[in-house]
């Protein structure tokens, strides 16, 4: 290192002094460095403030709504007739629609998603996994309006050949299609959870004479369980918030029923319908929008909190 030895030989350039000099020059930059946290805080607060803004607007308008319609009537009413001469604002038909469609979606997505994850993580060769996983992610990127269209023009007519009483708009078909939409997400997240189970655990079980199925069922899935459940919860929360598919394929009949062959409206679809029509600002129907949105917000919030809780537990497991 000739440069270095030159430097040290040359008494005029002392490394310690050099650093000291540079440090003094740096003092300006130091001020800048110090201002960075404040700057970043400001930027970060944009999204926090927006959220607070949205939630407080929701809350205020919801309170306004409950001045006109008693909160008990809203949450226990089974009749929703916002446009009638004698309007009635019961949210239960919408909750029914949302819960039913989400349950149908999960009945489709949970088993298929989990099986896909098991196949990819435990059985598929590296090559298959490397091709299928990105494909799944592409599938997750299909716009929901395409799924809605698909439910209305393809799945409903197809189902009608098996269930002749099926109505042209019904909750079953969009429920199934929502399930198909959620499969990639559940498969991908569950696969992540399962493949992060250390291989040494599989070896431990195999070494005791367990079959591959036993290893999967008794070691891998229990170890990845919280991750798998978290993926289910996220799936449900996605289904609850899904709008386009149900708006297109389930119509706008505000039925309070358990019959999945009938048209039902979800909370999201109601919001689309009311905002699409012209609800005069200040009318009860206008405020009902906020009350429904608030209910929906609470639903998804609850799901997200659950998902967080569960995935935190997951981190502690091994």
């Amino acid at each position: 290192m000739p440069v270095n030895s030159d430097l040290t030989k040359n008494k005029a350039v002392n490394i310690r002094d050099l650093i000291q000099q540079n440090k003094e020059k740096k003092s300006n930059r130091e001020k800048f460095e110090k201002s960075i946290p404040a700057l970043l805080f400001l930027i970060a607060s944009v999204s926090i403030l927006t959220t607070i803004g949205i939630v407080s607007t929701l809350l205020m308008e919801t309170v306004e709504f409950f001045k006109r319609v008693p909160i008990v009537d809203f949450f226990t009413g089974t009749v929703l007739k916002p446009l009638s001469q004698t309007p009635s604002f019961g949210v239960l038909p919408l909750i029914m629609g949302t819960v039913t469609s989400s349950l149908i979606a999960m009945a489709v997505a949970a088993p298929i998603g989990l099986m896909t994850a098991i196949y990819l993580s435990e059985y598929a060769s590296e090559k298959v996994r490397k091709t299928v996983k990105p494909l799944l992610e592409v599938l997750a990127g299909v716009p929901t309006i395409v799924y809605g269209f698909f439910a209305f023009t393809f799945v409903t007519p197809l189902l009608k050949t098996f269930i002749p009483t099926l109505e042209a708009t019904n909750i079953l078909s969009p429920g199934i299609v929502m399930g198909v939409m959620i499969i990639p997400m559940i498969a991908s997240l569950s696969e992540d959870a399962m493949s992060s189970v250390p291989n040494s655990m599989r070896e431990g079980a195999l070494g005791l004479g367990a079959t591959k199925l036993e290893v999967t069922g008794r070691v891998v899935i229990p170890a990845a369980l919280s991750g798998i459940i978290a993926s289910f919860v996220l799936g449900i929360s996605r289904a609850i918030g899904e709008t386009m598919i149900v708006t297109i394929a389930s119509g706008s009949t505000k039925n309070f029923t358990f019959d999945i062959t009938q048209s039902m409206q979800t909370m999201t679809a109601y919001i689309v319908e009311v905002t699409g029509g012209d609800a005069p600002a200040g009318s009860t129907i206008y405020y009902s929008l906020y009350a429904v949105a608030m209910t929906l917000f609470l639903f998804t919030l609850l799901m997200n909190i659950m998902a967080r809780k569960i995935s935190r537990k997951f981190r502690e497991e091994y």
Partner: protein
């Protein structure tokens, strides 16, 4: 009377010394193994005798783990593995398709370098093997759990927290738990791949004691980098180098006057 006892003891000692007297459990003949194009095991001939501790020593990458994993066919999980030659377990060829791997592995336990308990309770870890082999009776399972933990000298340390997570145990305790988990299926052979390399000296000592205490019931093949360990606990030692066996002999011979110069160099640390 005492005189007689001494004489019998003497006779038995002499018989024990003669290692050929032992029945082989595993016999390996002309075994070759390739990972893709790399030739990892070359013409291996080795027998592992009943109720003996066979130590496998050799420098890193010489194929010790590969050989051990071939004995319970775990090596076949690696894609692109090719095996030729034959290995018999109690007279049955294991490399063919006659014997299901699960059957073989229920008779041959394995202990790994890093303790790998399942993320379950201590009790469930031990009961896992018996359960997958169809033992469901609670009383039987309780008995197996207690018995295995006692054999592994872990019972006193964990008897009050059997239903707590196995992850609350120390590394040394976890390794003994893994040995207990193995013992729970009452295997005829236990394969151990550097079972103490991740442990402190005290835990290592406990595991070594454990090995000595179970060797009357089970056959043990142990890979180790620790020469003192091999000489302390094993009856026979095989020295591997670059995928070949250089020398197999009684442990005393290997460590006192090995036949091969390479063995001598290795055990004396004169080796790369």
């Amino acid at each position: 009377m005492t005189l007689l006892k001494e004489r019998i003891g003497d006779v038995q000692l002499r018989v024990m010394d003669n290692t050929n007297w032992r029945k082989p459990v595993y016999e390996t003949n002309g075994l070759n193994l390739w990972y893709g194009a790399s030739h990892a095991l070359k013409n291996i001939n080795l027998s592992i005798n009943e109720k003996e501790v066979t130590a496998i020593i050799g420098p890193s990458g010489c194929g010790k783990s590969t050989y051990l994993k071939t004995l319970n066919r775990m090596v076949e999980m690696v894609p692109d593995v090719n095996i030729s030659g034959n290995i018999t377990f109690k007279g049955n060829n294991i490399l063919g398709k006659e014997m299901p791997v699960e059957m073989l592995r229920s008779k041959v336990g394995m202990v790994f370098q890093k303790p790998n308990p399942f993320p379950k309770s201590i009790y469930e870890n031990i009961a896992f093997g018996p359960k997958i082999h169809g033992i469901k009776n609670k009383a039987t399972l309780d008995m197996i759990v207690e018995d295995s933990l006692k054999k592994a000298a872990l019972w006193d340390e964990v008897k009050d927290r059997l239903h707590k997570s196995a992850y609350g145990l120390s590394g040394g305790q976890q390794q003994r738990l893994c040995i207990a988990r193995c013992l729970a299926i009452d295997p005829e052979v236990i394969l151990m791949d550097e079972p103490t390399s991740a442990l402190d000296p005290v835990s290592t000592h406990k595991v070594e004691e454990l090995i000595s205490s179970i060797k009357n019931d089970v056959t043990i093949a142990i890979v180790t980098h620790n020469m003192q360990q091999a000489s302390r606990i094993s009856d026979r030692t095989a020295f591997f180098l670059n995928g070949e066996i250089i020398e197999v002999n009684s442990t005393a011979t290997i460590f006192n006057n090995p036949n091969d110069r390479l063995t001598n160099d290795y055990i004396n640390g004169r080796f790369g």
